[in-house]
Structures are given as structure tokens and as C-alpha cells.
Symmetry: C2
Subunit: 330 residues, 2 copies
DNA sequence: CACAGCATATGTAACGTTTCATATCGCAAG
DNA sequence: CTTGCGATATGAAACGTTACATATGCTGTG
């Protein structure tokens, strides 16, 4: 009385439909097949509840329709947006996303790549920080926000340009005493260029631009100390602040308010990233928006591109400015 | 001059090592094998750069060492924490995580399940809202935060108990005029019980407890209107507020400050979730902490448990209270 | 009417594993 | 020295597909 527990196979469908195995295969691969055959196969498949076995298929074709996404974590709101968009972009093209988080640990990064390689994904999209990642050159790899070498395509936002844009906006809005604030990511990356872009604009105009760059710092306290030390007669030494990311900008805004300064009347503030979640939660700031969706789509596109002979080694996507209440819009 | 492009197989390793195919298989499955044989195989494998082909293996064994995680999104900080922890918990047991996001769309949820089923994962951990999900009963499924039926194990935090805990804390800290605030998730779920638990404590003591529950609301503005309407002579009608989650609590705190009230001196505030990221970004509030890591571990444990004959249909994990500056701690 | 030519279905041989029945080896006992 | 036994290595079969070479049926032409 033992039921046949095993899932139905193509062979079962072929028998049920009274056609050959190859015909069933064709139907499930969208290869032209006589109308009546197709119908019979489809009906038989539905009757049996047949689903293609992707392992058998993967074994034959060497394609798995899945890609790995390697990120330090997914709790950082920017990484979360990225994960979301990459996942959607891959799904849209029929690919599964295998998520691996590394917590910035180079060993974990390498382990992920090993695992992922061994598990035969079709490619990897990675936001990793190991200086020299040992990745099989036969495996398509796209790096986000970190340039490795000419043969590993890298997709990133125009961080330098974003810094410039922030500077130009502040100038346009009447600021003359700029400040750049950065809190250290644990690792080098393209985002370091934000400050460079910002400063370059003022340098070019022979204006002063102060920067406070914190490294490996957990707390925002040093910023508070710095800011309060720069208030004289209720007036801050700066009238335009560019923060390396939105999380910082929102904190700085709160600090400024606590220090009795008005934002944007006394000080204007621009962040970087364009974290939608913040707006959703009621935290707002004017910001340089990273085109996260395009970042994801471009990465996926590069990853899945058939012709891998001449891929760009660096794709730099344009950022945009979005007013968010911490600047004096006209 | 064409290089043999194909990855080396067990057959190649066997030839290189001068042993039989089956022996190589044993080595890679940790099945006892003569010491010298093992060494020869391992050396040969290293020489050739051999990696097991998980598709061939999956075809034979019907196990894939991967599980799917289905979430509405990964940008919500709570979901992000969950994704992170589930991913780690699975990785720890040698499983890959296949991430699918659904944006609360029932159709997408079903599509995910289809896809994931068809792609032969070993199981699914889902936080989904479709009332009756059509999931193959042969496929291990664990639901987080949403009870479906006795045969689908559900793991959730003790939401009711968490609400009670919040109420007891506020009472303990001297509050006598409680308020519960909720902003509507688009879907029913276990988290609805938070308010019930909170109210039950006051009801039991025959104290009044006001609740304001918003549904399908994008903005927090109604809360502001409500709160400001309840200020008389600079004094708020409430001295203890419980918010359905941390994001709301943080917003309410900001509102209260803007309305000229001091937190926690005039009003004490407790949130729910224990979003670590908020603290990291400098937003703080006292909160009922969900044991996210345990939630994840329990789910994974249930999912991968060998003996699936008598699984619990509901596992409810204890929450805890964490002071975070919006309550008057002793 | 026969037969070329085309289109379409058929069935078999891989793909790279695991598993299991069989072969081989070494050693102890008769 | 032979036999038997246990331990261990061997190799063929099977997993469920795809791809390709072959078979089949049809249409239209000489």
C-alpha cells in the first residue's frame, strides 16, 4: 500500500501524456513543439503535479539560475536597500539570490566565495573589502563600490561627483562656511571620495573647507564636542554641513537642534545615500541620492551579460540631489 | 591547443590519485577510508583544484543544503535583523540562504513558494501574510510571526507577554495614565497582540487605558494632532506611552520634545522590537526586545530537525525589557 | 506513384555524483 | 599450505535532466 512518495519525473509525465521524454523536455524549455503535443504534456504535468528538478537540469546545463550576493550585513539601511534591489533585479530575470553576510570579516568573505563557488552559482555580486579576493576568473563576479582590477567589473555611484554636487548646492543656497563630516567605515571604499569631491569644489574657488573625519569610531560624541566648541555668540562657525551619509546627517541635525541652532535657518545640512526608510520613519534630511535600483540593475546586467569579452571595468552611476527639509530651498 | 575548460570531476581525481571513483566519493563524504588512500585523494584533489559539484550531488541525494527565506522586504529594520540572523544561523549549519522578498504581495508570496519549491530547497522559513498559502506538505515550512495551522510550525515572540511587560514596567515606574499607540501594518499578525497584552494589565487593575490604533496610515501626523489636543496647562493627559514598535516610539519621542514635553521626566516611553541599528545610529528608546537571534535559531532548528513527526505547532519566545533613556530608571 | 526534402517526435547517451553489490587483500586458524 | 573471514576498495547502476543523432510522417514535385 506504499504510495510512490517520489516526486514525478519527466519520464512519468511522458508516460502519462503518451509522448517521448524529449518532447516533455522541449515543452519545459519553450522549444517549439506541436500544439496537441504541448497540450497533452502540459495537462499530464498538471495532473501529476510535475515540477522540473533543477538539480538534474543544473547538472546537464551547468547553469543554475542563481547568483550570490555577498554583503557585510543587511542591517545597515544602505545595504538593506541594495539587497532588496538586487534581489528584485535578479528575480525579474528568473534568478534566485543567495545571500551571504560577512560582517566585514575577510576570512568570512573568502569562505563565502568558496562556498558559493562550490555550490555553483552562476555569478557573484559582492560588496567586499578583502584587498585581494581569490575568485575563480571563470566565475562572473561584479563588485559594488570597490574597485579591484580591470578584469573585475565594478559598479558604484559617482561618489566624487556627489560630493561636488553637495558643495555646489550649498554654495547655490548661500553657504560660505562649509564643513565636511565623516565617520569612519572600517574599510576603504569608494565612499571615501565623497569628501574629496566636496572639498575640491571649495579648493577650486579658493574657499576654506574644514573637515572632521573620524575613523573606527563608535560614538558621535566627538562631533558634538567639536560643534559646540565652534559656537560663538550663539552662532556656529559653519553654515553648511555635508555628512558622509544620511545616518550621520540625521544625528547631526538632532545635535544642532539640541545646541540651540535652527536647521536649516542657521545651518544647512546635506547627507548622502537617500535612505528611503529614514523618510518613512519620519527622519528627514536633504541628501545626495544614490541610484540604488540602477546600481542593482547594472550589476545584475553586467553579471548576466552573455558576452563577457569586453566588460567595462568601472561603471559610475550619476547621483542626484533631493531636498529634504534641512536646506533652504528657493 | 584548447585547454580542457571543464572543471575537474571525481573521475579526474580518481585517475590522478590512482584510486577508484567510489573511494574519492567516500573521502568527500567523510566516510572512513584507509589513511594512505585518503591522503592520495586529498592531494590529487588539491592539485586539480577539485570541488564537488553540488548539482550532481543534489540529484543523487535529494538534499540541497539550502533553505529559502521569504520576507516582505529587507529594508524594515526588524526584517533586516531577522534576515541577518537567519542567514547566520543557516550558514552555521552549512546551509545557504535563498532570499526572496515579496512586498506583502500575496501573489508574489505564492510565486516565491512555487519558485523555491521547484528549485528544490530543503525548506522554507517564511514571514508571509497570505491567509492560505499553498505549500507542499512534504516541504518543511516554518512560519515566523504568523500562525497558519497546527501542521505548520510557527515561531514568534511573546507579543502579548511583551505588551504586559511594558505595562508592568510603566506601572512600576510610577505611571498612572497609560496610552497605547499603534500604526497599522498592512496585514494581520501576531504583533496585534502587543496592545492586547498592554491593555489587559490595566483592565485587570481597573485602570483606564487609552489606545490610538491607526490602520493603513502613511503619516504620523494624526498622532501629533492627538497628542497636542491632550495637553492642558503644559501637562499631557498621559504619563506613560507604549508604542507598537521602536520606529514609532522614536518618532513619538521627537514629537513630544517638539511639543515642549520632557522625556522621560514628563512622559515615559517604551517601544517594541529592540532594533539595534537605531541605537547604533543614536536613536534610542526604552523597549521590549524581541529575541531575534533565538527566533532565527529556533526557526532553523525546527526547519532542519530530522524527526518531523511531532513538531510543536507554536513556539513562543520570551521577550525582555531594555532601558534606553526614555524611562525613569531607578 | 515514388521519392526527395522538410519538419517534428523519438530515444539514447551523457552530465558528476552516491550507493551498493562485488572483488580484492591480508591475516589468523586449521 | 590452505581456507575462511573481515575489512576495505572497486566499479557499475541510477538519479532526472538535456542534446543530439535518428526515425517518422508529411508535403510537394518529377
Amino acid at each position: 500500500m506504499k504510495q510512490k512518495e517520489n516526486a514525478p519525473t519527466m519520464k512519468d509525465v511522458a508516460r502519462e501524456a503518451g509522448v517521448a521524454l524529449g518532447t516533455v523536455s522541449k515543452v519545459f524549455n519553450s522549444i517549439p513543439v506541436g500544439e496537441d503535443y504541448r497540450r497533452r504534456v502540459e495537462e499530464a504535468a498538471k495532473r501529476l503535479g510535475y515540477q522540473v528538478n533543477s538539480y538534474a537540469r543544473g547538472l546537464k546545463t551547468n547553469r543554475t539560475c542563481s547568483a550570490a550576493l555577498i554583503l557585510p550585513n543587511v542591517t545597515d539601511p544602505f545595504f538593506a536597500m541594495l539587497a532588496q534591489e538586487v534581489c528584485s533585479a535578479l528575480a525579474q530575470r528568473g534568478y534566485r539570490t543567495i545571500l551571504s553576510t560577512t560582517a566585514y570579516d575577510p576570512e568570512a568573505e573568502q569562505r563565502c566565495i568558496q562556498m558559493v563557488q562550490q555550490n555553483k552559482v552562476d555569478g557573484i555580486i559582492g560588496l567586499t573589502y578583502t584587498p585581494d579576493l581569490d575568485v575563480d576568473p571563470r566565475l562572473p563576479y561584479v563588485s559594488i563600490d570597490r574597485y579591484f582590477s580591470p578584469c573585475v567589473p565594478c559598479v558604484s555611484s559617482d561618489n566624487f561627483g556627489g560630493g561636488q554636487l553637495a558643495a555646489e548646492k550649498l554654495l547655490e543656497l548661500g553657504c560660505t562656511r562649509p564643513l565636511f563630516l565623516r565617520i569612519g567605515s572600517k574599510v576603504p571604499g569608494e565612499s571615501d571620495k565623497r569628501g574629496d569631491g566636496f572639498e575640491s569644489v571649495f579648493r577650486q574657488r579658493q574657499m576654506n573647507c574644514i573637515s572632521l573625519r573620524l575613523n573606527d569610531e563608535e560614538s558621535y560624541a566627538p562631533f558634538r564636542d567639536f560643534l559646540s566648541s565652534r559656537i560663538e555668540g550663539g552662532r556656529l562657525a559653519f553654515d553648511g554641513i555635508f555628512c558622509v551619509n544620511d545616518a550621520l546627517a540625521i544625528q547631526i541635525r538632532a545635535m544642532l537642534l539640541e545646541l540651540g541652532l535652527r536647521v536649516p535657518e542657521d545651518v544647512q545640512l546635506i547627507g548622502f545615500d537617500g535612505i528611503r526608510r529614514f523618510a518613512q520613519d519620519g527622519f528627514y534630511c536633504s541628501t545626495i541620492v544614490q541610484p540604488v535600483a540602477r546600481l542593482a540593475e547594472t550589476s545584475v546586467d553586467l553579471l548576466l551579460r552573455e558576452d563577457r569579452s569586453n566588460l567595462p571595468s568601472l561603471v559610475c552611476l550619476p547621483v542626484s540631489y533631493a531636498a529634504g527639509g534641512t536646506t533652504l530651498e528657493p
